[in-house]
């Protein structure tokens, strides 16, 4: 009996020493692990989607390997609708090693527009839930998360059509000049075309035309579309149907009344 008790006592003491020693060294070594999140970059992917990339450098100078390093970003709109989700996973970061990774998340503007067309015309904010998880010494899972607000710049901010000006062309037709202006607040240069259809108050299509646009980011656009309209069909009021065709998104019709 005495031997058994002594054996249990010795085994318990040894396991306690091992457990406490391991735990404290694992926690202590965590201070020598450096995570460096670089400046986030916003660009365009090969599929013409908005590419959000975040460079990450992990320098493991601790005593143990780090397992299951995972970065997850969830981008959602202000109503909580999830737009995109992406993860970057590094299975093992060995002790004494430095690893560089890039976390990438893409946003398809067409998905955004499916939820609300406001993203084209009004600046707003996107909610980003950023989660980083690791396994200290490969056995102690640690997870950090935070919510961020990322400003969203509208590519067609304050899109307006100016007053129509008619000028003579021939006996049957006139040229209608419609001024267009907007500001590109987006993080990309906007290229593409604007198609316009002009209807009179009897819902008859009078004319249609298109204008190529090329607007660098954070610059205003001032342009005009000239439409060849039949004099007989011109009315005081009516409406335009505007279509936007760009490599990043296709949107339309946007109906704008005139008169």
């Amino acid at each position: 009996m005495k031997i058994l008790i002594r054996m249990v006592g010795i085994a318990t003491t040894l396991f306690w020493i091992f457990l406490i020693g391991f735990f404290i060294s694992a926690v202590y070594s965590a201070k020598d692990v450096k995570f460096d999140f670089g400046e986030p970059r916003i660009g365009l992917s090969s599929d013409n989607e908005i590419l959000f990339s975040l460079p990450i450098t992990i320098d493991n100078k601790g005593y143990y390997d780090i397992g299951s390093f995972n970065v997850t970003t969830e981008i959602s709109d202000r109503e909580g609708f999830m737009i995109s989700r992406a993860s970057t996973f590094v299975p093992v970061i060995e002790k004494g090693r430095q690893i560089m990774a890039t976390h990438e998340d893409t946003i398809d503007i067409n998905d955004l527009l499916g939820n609300s067309q406001d993203y084209l015309f009004n600046d707003t904010e996107l909610e980003v839930l950023e989660t980083v998880s690791i396994k200290l010494a490969d056995v102690i899972p640690v997870q950090t998360s935070r919510n961020l607000s990322v400003p969203w710049g509208a590519p067609l901010y304050n899109f307006t059509l100016g007053k129509i000006e008619y000028s003579g062309f021939n006996v049957t037709h006139m040229i209608a000049t419609i001024p267009i202006n907007f500001e590109n607040h987006a993080s990309f240069d906007l290229t593409g075309s604007i198609q316009m259809r002009m209807y009179n108050n009897a819902n008859i299509l009078m004319s249609e035309g298109q204008k190529t646009i090329e607007t660098p980011q954070n610059t205003p656009y001032y342009g005009q579309v000239e439409l060849d309209v039949p004099v007989a069909a011109i009315t005081e009021s009516g409406y335009f149907e505007v279509y936007f065709l760009t490599p990043f998104f296709n949107f339309g019709p946007l109906v704008i009344s005139y008169g």
């Binding site: 009996m1 926690v27 202590y28 997870q143």
Partner: protein, 149 residues
């Protein structure tokens, strides 16, 4: 009369020896705690409560250890040893919130999953409890043999 006095002197000596032994044990335990707490210093900067939690644990544990040592040679020693093991199990389970420790530092939520550590610690606590029960049984067994003899 002289035998009675010798007997009381012997008891006093035994008690003093136990007290010194208990003090040395408590001191060694406290020194180990001080050394280990230096390693935990970076964590206590992030988690403000951890220092207090560990200190309370160390104080109660040392008290139980000293009382157990002072009552050595009696059945109470085993009661206090069992209490020490139970205290370790319950305190770890309660202070570690079932193994998932969560906190918010500035705007960052931090969660640490210590369930594996807690499970091993509780198993070791149970092993300590089993040892105390075995010691108590052994003690009573010896005592009954002594009385029969």
């Amino acid at each position: 009369m002289a035998e009675e006095k010798r007997d009381s002197n012997k008891r006093l000596r035994e008690f003093l020896f136990k007290a010194i032994k208990a003090s040395i044990k408590g001191l060694i335990f406290y020194v180990i705690y001080l050394v280990l707490s230096m390693f935990l210093a970076p964590v206590s900067e992030i988690v403000p409560n951890i220092q207090q939690i560990v200190e309370i644990f160390v104080v109660v544990y040392i008290c139980l250890m000293i009382i157990g040592e002072l009552t050595s040679g009696t059945i109470f020693q085993h009661f206090f040893n069992a209490a020490k093991a139970l205290f370790t199990i319950l305190y770890l389970a309660l202070s570690l919130n079932g193994g998932i420790v969560g906190m918010t530092v500035q705007d960052v939520n931090l969660a640490v999953d210590l369930r594996l550590f807690l499970a091993v610690a509780m198993l070791l606590g149970l092993l300590g409890l089993a040892k105390s029960v075995l010691q108590a049984i052994n003690f009573l067994n010896k005592k009954s043999e002594h009385i029969r003899f």
